[in-house]
């Protein structure tokens, strides 16, 4: 329905990966690399009697954002949970390496990663894990080349597993209420450690631990936005010039920030305990206020960092 609905006004959560790209970038500026007509489908899924996708669930390409040249990758979270397979991963790594190589020659200002993933695809897990490692390495190289890498997280699948690790490599992280960021997903924790450790059916608990509000309160995400494509776009435009340089000083600051956070809140079992400890006025209310009210709430002092 991309041609009927104004993409910029669309819910980010409900939009497809293609529609998210169309709405985040300047209208009509997107040029796809390895589009669906190339049929770069997974060579593994058919062996498991599974149907594929013509883009293997990842759309990559170039465009402009507020007139500046950017590369962009978007995962389709509804196809196999947005999970990383061999082709999917290779497309992401290839895009990042192209951004590194073209940073100066083509004036690439940023790479936007529209993550929406449960992690690695089980049917091609080894290739997926390798792709995550290569993508992380490539993000570091892109940042060293002076190009900001911005993660946008607000889809159905969140950014879990290797996707969660990838966000941690980025210069900046933008998240919405629906967005979740983590490594082991709730079901994985429950399966391995039992329901007393983590009840994955308790959606309130899942969002209190992994959700966008908690991540942005603590500085695990840099910007909290309303669930609109236009808000993600505006935040990306605003964050590109604010991306910290990838230097030893940045990494030392990040390490210090995380160590202090662990020291302060390492024994907390749930997010409201953290808010209580940090002296937030209404700890249980954080989950209940509107998106607009939450967006203007003060964050924990730990969130006021310029690390990452």
């Amino acid at each position: 329905m991309s041609n009927i609905i104004n993409l910029v006004d669309h819910d980010y959560y409900e939009a497809s990966a293609r529609d998210r790209i169309g709405g985040v970038l300047d209208p009509g500026s997107f040029h796809e690399f390895l589009g669906p007509e190339n049929r770069t489908v997974s060579p593994h899924l058919a062996q498991f009697n599974l149907t594929g996708a013509f883009d293997d669930g990842l759309i990559i390409g170039a465009g402009t954002l507020s007139g500046e040249k950017v590369y962009i990758a978007a995962q389709e979270g509804r196809f196999m949970g947005g999970a990383f397979g061999e082709v999917h991963g290779a497309k992401l790594v290839g895009l990042l390496r192209a951004a590194r190589d073209n940073a100066t020659a083509k004036g690439i200002r940023a790479v936007l990663l529209l993550l929406d993933t449960g992690g690695v695809r089980l049917q091609e897990a080894n290739a997926g894990e390798l792709a995550i490692a290569e993508a992380a390495h490539a993000i570091v190289e892109v940042r060293i080349a002076g190009v900001a890498v911005i993660a946008l997280v607000g889809g159905k699948s969140g950014a879990f597993g290797g996707g969660g690790i990838v966000t941690a490599f980025c210069s900046r992280i933008i998240v919405s209420d629906h967005g979740r960021i983590g490594v082991s997903g709730p079901e994985v924790i429950e399966t391995n450690k039992g329901v007393e450790e983590f009840d994955a059916k308790d959606k309130g608990l899942v969002w209190r631990i992994d959700g966008g509000r908690t991540r942005s309160m603590m500085g695990g995400a840099d910007v909290f936005v309303k669930d609109r494509v236009r808000d993600f776009r505006a935040a990306a435009i605003e964050q590109i010039p604010k991306a910290p340089p990838f230097t030893l000083a940045t990494l030392v600051a990040e390490q210090a920030r995380l160590a202090a956070r662990l020291q302060a809140y390492g024994d907390c079992r749930d997010a409201p305990e953290i808010w209580q400890k940090a002296g937030v006025a209404d700890p249980s209310g954080i989950a209940d206020v509107s998106e607009e009210a939450f967006a203007t709430m003060p964050r924990l002092k730990e969130a006021a960092h310029d690390a990452r």
Partner: protein, 104 residues
């Protein structure tokens, strides 16, 4: 999983000059269609890869009905189906044809 092709030999030429369009997503109850203008203008080909086996006759009926309603000559539809119902399949085919026709 099942794969087959359905060929319509006497389709009306599809309007517009767009070369390619993509609609939908291969997800549960949904369908991904890649439409390309690559065939002689009275032919239409639908290549189906579906997660659900045994419904070829139903696919045939839906696609023939679609080609009766819509001018699809010259178009090849490649489908990755995640178990969409016939009404969803029909809507997605219509959506793809409309995009190819250059309608807003």
């Amino acid at each position: 999983m099942e794969q087959f092709q359905i060929h319509v030999a006497s389709a009306r030429p599809a309007p517009g000059d767009r070369r390619q369009a993509t609609v939908g997503v291969n997800a549960s109850g949904n369908i991904e269609i890649l439409v390309e203008r690559v065939l002689p203008e009275t032919e239409c080909l639908v290549e189906v890869t579906t997660a659900v086996t045994g419904y070829r006759t139903l696919w045939q009926a839906v696609i023939e009905d679609f080609c009766d309603r819509c001018p699809t000559g010259g178009l090849r539809f490649a489908i990755n189906d995640g178990g969409a119902r016939p009404d969803i399949v029909h809507l997605r085919l219509m959506q793809g044809a409309r995009l190819m026709g250059g309608e807003p």
